[in-house]
């Protein structure tokens, strides 16, 4: 309950009210030493602007790309990432885990 990125939902609300396409990406399950706990998330708008994080940096780019597809299609999707790959190690993350991220459009 402590220490959450709570401003992302305010951004999501104000973007959606301004008529922009918006998607929420939320970590729903983690295994191993995933960097961010379930409930962590990011919000993306149709311009590709995003706030928040699901992993501490290693998969955000891919999540944003998928979120833009979800904004277009309207259909929610589940993404799964292993964060034990080399790219993750080179940026110094505590890895070896997997995360599942639920991406949904604000409608």
């Amino acid at each position: 309950m402590l220490d959450r990125d709570e401003d992302i939902l305010k951004a999501a609300e104000s973007w959606a009210e301004a008529g922009k396409g918006v998607a929420l990406a939320t970590v729903v399950e983690t295994w191993g030493s995933a960097p961010r706990p379930a409930g962590s998330g990011l919000v993306v708008n149709e311009d590709g602007t995003f706030l928040g994080s699901v992993s501490g940096g290693c998969v955000e780019g891919a999540v944003v790309t998928e979120a833009l597809d979800v904004i277009s299609s309207g259909a929610p999707r589940m993404l799964e990432f292993g964060v034990a790959d080399e790219a993750a190690w080179t940026v110094g993350l505590s890895c070896g885990g997997r995360i599942r991220v639920f991406v949904e459009k604000v409608v």
Partner: protein
């Protein structure tokens, strides 16, 4: 997520009331459960547990996977007394994620040099406390040892729904405090809400150890089921 759901979550958060969003991750179906509605929800046992732990996770109900996303307010800690223990307690509580405020009318104690990066209010409790909106997600500790400051502060806390109230002092000191507070109209149940001597019994001696004992007791009160958190 519906924009209406999103707006409702933000409104509840602004009012410091917890909410849980239940999402069927098979089909995306979603509903919002406000704190006041948890008790009569079919999933109330799981919802209560997740809210208490402040933990979001997937549960399986009748073969469906449901993601319970918990939005709980940031817990506050109000410390009465800019004393030695408070100098250890404030940074410890901040490291645990609490939003910390220290109140002490004695400006020599409540000095920014003694409390870097902590919100300090150098006022008497009757002035300092009402604007703090002490609520269910607030822990309250009285540490001055001075009845002129601690007693009115405790009277204010006892009128509120804070999840923890603790007061520094030996059993003897607390006994005298109970007599004074009762004379001010506090009930026996009110006296029993005050954790005193303050903190878990871990043999704490130094101010830093006492701070650990206090935060351990507050954590237990926040996280353990009510029956075992006494």
């Amino acid at each position: 997520m519906n924009l209406a759901t999103l707006s409702a979550i933000n409104a509840e958060r602004a009012a410091r009331r917890p909410v849980i969003v239940v999402t069927d991750i098979g089909n995306g179906a979603q509903r919002l459960v406000k704190a006041v509605d948890i008790a009569r929800d079919p999933l109330h046992i799981e919802l209560e547990r997740h809210l208490r732990m402040g933990k979001s996770s997937v549960i399986e109900v009748e073969g469906r996977k449901l993601f319970l996303n918990v939005y709980a307010p940031t817990a506050k800690l109000v410390i009465i007394g800019a004393v030695h223990i408070s100098q250890a307690l404030a940074p410890l509580a901040r490291s645990l994620g609490y939003d910390v405020t220290v109140v002490d009318p004695r400006s020599a104690f409540a000095s920014p040099a003694r409390f870097p990066d902590v919100r300090l209010i150098a006022e008497w409790p009757d002035v300092a406390l009402p604007p703090l909106n002490i609520d269910h997600y607030t822990a309250f500790v009285a540490l001055t040892h001075d009845p002129k400051i601690d007693d009115p502060a405790l009277l204010h806390a006892l009128e509120r729904d804070c999840f923890y109230i603790g007061a520094l002092g030996s059993r003897n000191t607390h006994g005298q405090r109970a007599v004074r507070l009762k004379a001010k109209g506090v009930s026996e149940a009110g006296i029993e809400r005050i954790h005193a001597p303050i903190g878990l019994e871990i043999g704490a001696i130094t101010p830093a150890e006492i701070a650990v004992a206090i935060m351990a007791e507050i954590t237990a009160q926040l996280r353990l089921p009510k029956a075992s958190a006494a």
